[in-house]
């Protein structure tokens, strides 16, 4: 549940919950600086565009793990929801395994790219930051995603996956469990350890 998410212990256990908001906050501030940059000629900040772009790329990779944790990746669930609960559990585990295979590919290929940047000593044009560092979220995101996928598979086996605890109304899947409870679409149940 999101009420405990600002607690330091929780953030250490769930790094993507700290990294993603910080990235987005820096993107927001950099975009504002960009506007001021245009208004005040003496304020020169050519690095903002580059910082925004790389952080956004990073946000996507870290966010993939975040969305696995919250089970909020977009999918076409029409046929899936027609399956009986037991079969849905099996199918969901297959989804998670396929997701894991894909993230291993991306993580490995990403790592190869980073190593080639290190070898060539490539830096970004405006920030002069090492390119491997700016693009490292691909590997971090892949590792975090793998961890989250394993965690979710364990949750399915332990019957603690909210999807199988709650009957989430069709069409409202994009809302968080907390919002669904708050707005009265579902009732909170014991055993929800999310």
């Amino acid at each position: 549940m999101e009420k405990n998410q600002l607690n330091a212990k929780y953030l250490l256990k769930n790094p993507e919950y700290a990294i993603a908001p910080v990235f987005l906050l820096v993107i927001l501030l950099s975009a504002v600086i960009q506007v001021f940059n245009r208004m005040i000629p003496s304020l020169k900040a050519p690095w903002t565009l580059e910082l925004i772009t790389y952080l956004f790329g990073g946000l996507v990779w870290i966010g993939i793990a975040l969305a696995i944790h919250d089970d909020s990746h977009v999918g076409i669930k029409t046929i899936y929801h027609m399956f009986p609960k037991k079969m849905r559990k099996v199918v969901k585990i297959i989804h998670m395994i396929l997701f894991g295979i894909m993230m291993i590919f991306f993580g490995y290929l990403g790592l190869m790219s980073l190593l080639s940047y290190v070898k060539r000593g490539q830096t970004t044009p405006a920030l002069h930051a090492p390119l491997w560092l700016m693009r490292s979220p691909i590997v971090i995101g892949a590792l975090l995603s793998l961890y989250r996928l394993i965690e979710r598979i364990v949750m399915i086996f332990k019957d603690t996956d909210p999807e199988f605890i709650y009957d989430i109304p069709v069409g409202l899947e994009e809302m968080s469990i907390e919002d669904l409870i708050q707005q009265g679409f579902i009732e909170e149940k014991k055993g929800d350890k999310q």
Binding site: L25, A31, T53, F56, L98
Partner: protein, 429 residues
């Protein structure tokens, strides 16, 4: 020549999509396997293709628009706007229905999400409409159908996605959505008036200048965010991304100092929501750059263009054929996903027959918006049914006449490019 790679990647993606796998996995895994099997490029090119998809300055507008919308909703700024629209049109016959449509035009534009719009407006207006003597099915129907305005008028996330995928100016697309948005709002409000008059839905109250002025004074601040976005883009003073950032800062300032509704933890929760949605959408764009590479490597868009041109060379006939196809796609696929997958294939066709790309992109989004409320799988139908706690059959029956406005607006917008192009041409040159 048979495009074997394209067929393989498409086939695998469709199978994975049908079994409910996340779209990111369906597109990503099928693309990786196809590249591994057919070897059109070395595997090491995959990260480069994905970086080019995700490191996009244009797409940064998405989390910022979402952030602004989530903040508006969680700090109660959105409800001030609803109150203002009610004071403006709620007194007349069918007034609450009209307020619903107008509220979607203003608030929906800010949230950028049709589901957020149906939930925010529906939870307030559906019970109120029912209490005022409206049929529950009709109240839900007008909420669902008007929520599609969220993806047509600025700041629409779908316009940002189609702009990024098709390499078009997002400013032109966002401003281009205003014309069809206004037309749809007008058409729905007129139809709502006649339906309510016929069925005697709702009460007629006395218009009150005082109520309008009181709600305007409060709502004026809330109206600032969409105005910042629109004026900022129209004047060319800021980019869509920067306009999103300014709208976020503005929302924070008015909710903290004017409405005093900024509660502890709201900013963090909003940042998380925006990050989550961004990853889900832009992650797909990242993997779809491999997917699109495979399709273009084999020239699939050209094959589709030649096939359609073999049937007819009439520009409008092809445009309407694409419209019909997109309407069906919109019924089954998430709108963002439909753009990511179909735009790279259909844009070359549109360009080949001489359709203006901005006009085509806006009509593309309009089709998908209609798909969101078309049975059997329209996502806004499901969310509205849950908000109104009613069955789908009743909602669809009540919604049937309202589909007429949407189809008429679609036909007009397809036939007359000026509806889309006039405002951006005047404002952006």
């Amino acid at each position: 020549m048979i495009p074997v790679m394209s067929l393989t990647v498409f086939g695998m993606a469709v199978v994975l999509l049908l079994i409910g796998a996340p779209v990111l996995v369906s597109i990503g895994l099928s693309s990786v396997f196809t590249i591994m099997f057919f070897n059109p490029v070395p595997l090491i090119s995959i990260p480069q293709l994905m970086f080019s998809g995700t490191e996009s300055y244009v797409l940064v507008a998405i989390p910022l628009f979402v952030l602004s919308g989530v903040l508006m909703e969680s700090t109660g700024v959105a409800s001030k706007l609803i109150e203002f629209t009610k004071a403006g049109v709620g007194w007349a016959r069918g007034g609450l229905g009209a307020a619903n449509v107008l509220g979607s035009f203003i608030f929906g534009g800010m949230s950028g999400s049709s589901v957020a719009d149906t939930v925010a407006l529906g939870t307030i207006l559906i019970p109120e409409m029912e209490k005022d003597g409206y049929d529950k099915g009709y109240s839900a129907a007008i909420t669902a159908l008007s929520s599609t305005l969220a993806v047509i008028v600025p700041p629409s996330i779908l316009m940002v996605i189609i702009g990024a995928v098709s390499e078009l100016s997002v400013s032109w697309l966002l401003i281009g959505g205003i014309g069809p948005g206004v037309l749809l709002t007008g058409a729905m409000m007129i139809q709502n008036y006649y339906i309510c008059r016929k069925h005697k839905y709702g009460s007629v109250k006395k218009f009150s200048w005082k109520y309008l002025w009181d709600t305007f004074k409060v709502g004026l601040w809330a109206l600032g965010a969409p105005i910042i976005i629109m004026i900022g883009i129209m004047t060319g003073f800021v980019t869509p991304t920067e306009s999103g950032a300014l709208a976020v800062i503005y929302t924070l300032v008015i909710s903290a100092f004017f409405y005093k509704s900024l509660k502890k933890g709201v900013i963090y929760k909003s940042l998380l929501s925006a990050a989550r949605l961004t990853a889900a959408v832009v992650g797909i764009i990242g993997t779809s750059s491999i997917f699109t590479f495979i399709l273009t490597f084999e020239g699939l868009p050209q094959i589709v263009a030649n096939f359609l041109l073999g049937i007819t060379t009439n520009k409008m006939a092809i445009f309407f054929m694409i419209n019909a196809f997109l309407l069906v796609m919109g019924m089954f696929l998430d709108a963002g996903v439909a753009i990511i997958v179909m735009a790279p294939i259909l844009f070359p066709v549109a360009l080949a027959v001489g359709i203006n790309p901005i006009h085509f992109a806006v009509v593309f989004v309009l089709n998908l918006a209609i798909g969101m409320v078309t049975p059997p799988f329209g996502v806004c139908l499901f969310s509205t049914c849950n908000v109104a706690k009613m069955d789908m059959g009743r909602l669809i029956k009540a919604a049937l006449p309202l589909y007429g406005s949407m189809i008429v607006v679609l036909i007009f917008t397809t036939l007359f490019p000026q509806i889309v192009l006039w405002i951006p041409t005047v404002t952006l040159g």
